[in-house]
Amino acid sequence: MMEVEAGCSLSNLPDEVLQHIFSFLNIRNIARLRVLSRRFHTLCTTSPSLFFCERPLNPRLCNCSCPHVFNFMNTLPQHRPHAFKINLLCFSSYCKIDEHRSLHDEWINKLFQTFQVDELYLYYHLPSIFKSLSRFHSLKVLKLKMRGLIWVKLPVMKLASLETLYMQHVETEDSVGEWVSQSFPSLKSLFLSYIKVAMNSTKELELTIRSSCLEVLSMDQCCAFKVVRITTENLRALTYGICFPGHCHHHYDMAKKDDEIFVEISAPNLQSLFWKGAPTRLCYDERTFKNLHVATITHLRFQNLNLLIQLFEAVRWARLLHIDTDMLKDIYGKPSISFGNVRHFEICVYQCFYYYNPCPKEEDYDNVGDVLFTFLKRLSNLETLTFVSDPFHDSKAEAKEYIFKGAVKMCEKRTKWKEIRGVKKLKFKLRSIYHSMILLIGMLKTHCVELEEMTLIYPSCYHELIAFYLNCLESASSALSINCVSV
């Protein structure tokens, strides 16, 4: 143990410094510190950030920290009789014990009266929260996660201070979009996921976002709605996703649902777009993609390519991830598409039906090669080219190598077209190391004549292997700088 000069005791720090340190700790850790000394006892029980969390345990296990929390809360009023300000209050519980649950309600209502809160995270099924929310006059950030079965009522309120709202696992009959825009007039960021509506509701299943101040909107897994309308003048970033990544068999069930959804966007100031999956029925006004800077499209799966074409003509950063090969073939078949604005391009493909066709044939790789070739030729101002491996954790080895084998084919076949002009930076994001990838790196090194920099991002366990391969490449040629980032 190292020596510390006398006087350097943490006890000599001012309250505000210690409280700031506490804000980086969770309830369990803060609670432990109470027994350090008298001063810490006082501080810990009046800390401005309170995290009442259980570890994200399996909800079925009844590992409940409630008694601990109740003890903690009981010490509070003795120290600070008046309402005081805390920056962050987080309460999360999977508690299934009825006695505790009834206490939770009482306890949280007590919190409303005692504290003035900036950020409130409630990862807990507590429908009564909506009645009490308007009492938090200074609340800026609200996160709600209400995994449960009961429909919640969303009463309209006025909470002008709220800037950020997360809603997850909320099931309701009320119109979420209207509720948000009426209740929170200053809202800047809205994150919705797993919002469900009553299926037998007589109301139209429509989600309309019209909050005029909104700058960031994210919607994920909100597939119960038939119509989604986004009309926001100031929106800068939009994330839209319906399908569930990672499971192909889910994909196709979801695809059916996606096809039924009608999406309408009007957001003239949109700068960044992240699109996961895409409905066939998408509608946007002509101003919407004019200011777009970055577009990321994953799990693309739709017949009409107009969205993709318009996006790619607009953006400088394009990321095309988890794109199936059939989709790419469609793009390949449209020679009119030009992507002259794209400076940075990132691609990751998988074979559409690898679940049913586990062994790709040679011609499959040829297809990928053809498509890549067409892409690279049309991306006439490309500076950075990035290959991403392994779309899925559980995919088969052949599928993981898909993009690399395809690219190798491309390089092998196009003997007449040997130079990829303009590309200065080459990046590889890898989850493991393949022979084909090494081959590809070697080939691209010779094809990309203007290449200045190459970056490999890979898991740290492959460090030695990468070093070995790079050594082999290094001896081959050139003053190219190669960066390796292990993660």
Binding site: F24, N29, L33, V35, L36, R38
Partner: protein
């Protein structure tokens, strides 16, 4: 303040002189005020003293010089990533014995980034330690009477005192 001055001289609490560039000094609010109020030129006699010891001031200035270019111009994501890595390394280096001083200095100099970083480091250190280890490393005296300790034990049966 004349715009030609690029670096200023400050004194540590131990009386040593340190040079700090103007852009780096701007990371600290008090230093920034000083820059506006006082004339820092070579013919100016006044050298401001900073109530931070030399050992700590070296680290603080190192941090400022590293972070200044980004704070003044805004930077790309890759820069931010690189800085983050640098921060982690910065806090790794035998910093435990001067962490206390860095916390005080960052608070005194109103340097948000360094303050957060130091607090985070202190918090991370605490996470992995037992109560008695925390007492030892951060020099905290257990000033509970035996009755109080007994009472705490009863109130919070889950808590460990050692």
């Amino acid at each position: 303040m004349s715009s030609s001055v690029e670096a200023i001289t400050v004194l540590s609490s131990d009386g040593d002189e340190f040079k700090i560039t103007v852009s780096a000094a701007k990371l600290s609010k008090p230093l920034n005020w000083m820059l506006e109020d006082v004339c820092f030129s070579d013919d100016c006699d006044e050298v401001p003293t900073i109530e931070v010891n030399s050992k700590t001031l070296v680290k603080v200035i190192e941090y400022c010089e590293k972070h200044a270019p980004r704070a003044n111009s805004g930077a790309s994501d890759s820069d931010a990533e690189e800085l983050k890595k640098w921060d982690i390394e910065f806090m790794k280096m035998d910093v435990k014995d001067i962490l206390f001083h860095i916390l005080m200095a960052a608070n005194y100099l109103h340097m948000e980034g360094l303050y957060d970083l130091a607090c985070q480091t202190a918090a991370d250190l605490m996470k992995g330690m037992t109560v008695s280890q925390i007492r030892k490393i951060f020099h905290i005296k257990n000033d509970f009477s035996s009755e109080e300790q007994e009472q705490l034990r009863r109130q919070h049966p889950g808590c460990s005192f050692d």
